[in-house]
Amino acid sequence: MPAAADLRMLGPEMLVAGTALLVLVWATFLPPQRQHLLRWISAAALAAALAVVLRLGTGAASAFSGMYARDGLTVVLQSAALLGALLALALAGAYVERSHLDAGEFYALLLAAALGAMVMAGSRDLIMVFLGLETLSIPLYVLAAFARTDLRSQEAGMKYFLLGAFSTTFFLYGIALIYGVTGSTALARLAGSPGGPMLRAGVGLLLVGLAFKAALVPFHAWSPDVYEGAPLPVTAYMSVIAKIGAFAALLRIFPGTLTALAGEWRGILAVLSILTMVLGNLAALRQTSLKRLLAYSSIAHAGFILIGVAAGSGRGAWAVAFYLLGYTFMTLGAFAVALRVTRGGEEADAIADLTGLASRSPALAAAMAVFMVSLAGLPPTVGFVGKLYVFTAALEAGQNALAIVGVLASVVSAYYYLRVAYTMFTGEPAAGIAFAGDRWLGGALLAAAVGVLVLGVFPSPLTVFVQQVAQALR
């Protein structure tokens, strides 16, 4: 029987889990015209959970015999997960209702995936990480295949599920090997272990599992297809929440635990990071589909974020957290613009569909320009500050090559991001292009644009906030 204090510490997680179940059940009783209530309930729960996470703070409390912790890392990355879920919920509503998808199931799955990412952030035990990983992944498999009548969505869901399940077994096998060496699944025991080939193999398998979730090259092959096939709001959510969960676990396991082996994994992560940045950016150059462009862009950004993990330092860890929060705003913002534009009632998928939209909606074009500039890492946006932080971490850790590849990859990315912004400001809009979405979507767009700019110009408070992550690693 867990102590009352343990349960109190899990308040935010229980709130999200409870709401997911409530929404799922209640949806069956609500008449179709009142389904929008579910969106309000889900949003309220996410906002409340975010408030509780911030209110509980750190206090470095741990629960369930040290399996779970509410430290700086938990607080910051759970905030990121909840914020991402909240924005994604606001993006998704109009689409879900317009496409006659099952709203209750959709919101319940969205909440469940957020719960998974939250659990991954708080876990200090490999079994807990695994539970979080599964809670995150399974709803995402279902969401990817959510458009039941759309073959592409079905294919996306199936692909994601098969490859995802395959990679999860790698993770599980890694846990087994580590258990074999240390006799425990606790990260604390792993930290104190002397190493050896078996342990290294186990850690390597953990890395494969997480690299798949974060879509790091060479474990990224699934993501462009899945991103393209899944319904647009699902793609948006997936590109953010899976990264938050995966990077939370990477931070816990690598700089947070395996400090003794840092000399070995730092180089490996640096290589993965370089591969991811280079391949992600080069592949994005040639895309004509906006969704696919954003898919490769999210791969490329995973590479940039990984720089902070590879640094293996406290500075690297908080840079990762900062980048993830900034990335949430700019990526969801870009997806929000994509959701706003429709062609003949369908998703407007091609970059060319954005042609000349500045004359019809200057605000939308301005917002897209802000997101693209930020994704390209140019000031004065949060994307620039995030890159400044990860590059500083890499150079401080002596990984000069990593930083140089990073800045050059960033220059390449300016090409394709600015091309998207440029498209909106030239030419005449094509026929059949319309604007869709409701106030929620508009609000999310505004919030994301304001977030990108304000955090780019006044990054100080957020910087102080994310620096808690570094304290958790000591």
Partner: protein, 500 residues
Amino acid sequence: MRAFPLLSILIFLPLAGAVVVALLDRRREAAVRWTALAGALLALAAALVVFWRFAPGTAALQLEEHTLWIPAAGIGYHLGVDGISLPLVLLTAVIMPLALLSSWSAVGDRIKEFSVAMLALETALLGTFLSLDLVLFYVFWDAVLIPMYFIIGVWGGPRRAYAAFKFILYTAAGSALMLVAIIVLFLSSGAAGARTFDWAVLADSPVAMPLQAWLFGAFALAFAIKVPVFPLHTWLPDAHTEAPTPGSVVLAAVLLKMGTYGFLRFLLPLFPEATVRFAPLMAGLAVAGILYGGIVSWAQRDMKRLVAMSSVSHLGFVTLGAFALTVEGLQGSLLQMVNHGISTGGLFLLVGVLYDRTHSRLMADYGGVAALMPRFAAVSLIVVLSSMALPGTNGFVGEFLVLLGAFRAAPVYAVLAAGGVILSAVYLLWMVQQVFHGPVAVVQRAKVVELSARELVLFVPLIALIFWIGLFPGTLLSRSEASIQALVERVQRVQVEVRR
């Protein structure tokens, strides 16, 4: 008591203007244009207040503002003006209203967006010249790219997309490595917790040598692409040719100065030892640029391309002066930055006037324009003579000082560079002869009408400045002298040590 934040107000006034313009109804074109102009004129007024409050005779930073920006990452908000930045701030503030005024005929669509981009650009430019924290500087430096990219890409000529991407990729690639160098400077500025991005602190204790040379390289590359120093100039003709007239004016008059300003503000004081080592290389490239730019200009048939290539030649003088590492050379270099802004900005405006009328930039399409537009011909001649550095005009003082400084440092460079002076006379007079003289041979004769009152207003301030600086260069030189003197002493101290 906190001092009045005059510099912050100067920097952000244009941005405030941009916000006001953005809120206006796009159909009220006149209101948009006048509001944008008013924003730029307010910034000019603020710049004049700075000029008036500026105390000559001291190398110290003035009107400093120093507060924390991102203390958790060691980043400060540090602004200040000295004799090196003052002339460039004034230049920016003078050129911007003129460029906006020229856009009234040169830019006909999406006027609101254009005005917003121009005003945002002015904020970024002023910030670049006034920032004394390296991250703050980099933020403004890179922020310049975004509005300029749109100005070329949206309102440019037929090959605008290509030119815009070439412009941004070239310059962003150069500055990317500078960002790495800035971070390395920060990391080597002290123990964790005591590190800083502050220019004043970093300049007081330059990093040790092998590292200093690498960092010099990274900064020099970023600046050299921006200037552009030969052989990194290939983005320039395309960007200039495709940009709309106001874009070309700002690009030539102000944006290119970011690079040469960077030489004086960052390269010399932060990396004095490496500067001394690599000065012959930089000066050699400068001379190559002077001659190459001159010869290539001579071969142009498109006037805008000719003026663009002449920038490569003229900025060679600026670079040569900077790396002469003597007081005369640096004074000349700084003055020549301003002069080039005035005269080349003027040349682009002249080409713009003709282009607005006939939509042709080819010299072959003109001839005998002097007979049709006598006032315009007179204005053009003055601007051309200033660009050729005729005594009595601003260009003469600047080029003379550069050559004098270079002669003291390395006579060979000065002699070769003097050849560039002759070349510039050749290609500029060649252009004047083709376009203005001879029998009237304009293809679209009916359209070639005399300057309007608005167009005349464009040239009056430029001509006033040409003669003002030409006849009374002391106004600017006396204000920059102390800062230049201090800079040269700093570098020469190292020079002596290196020789030992």
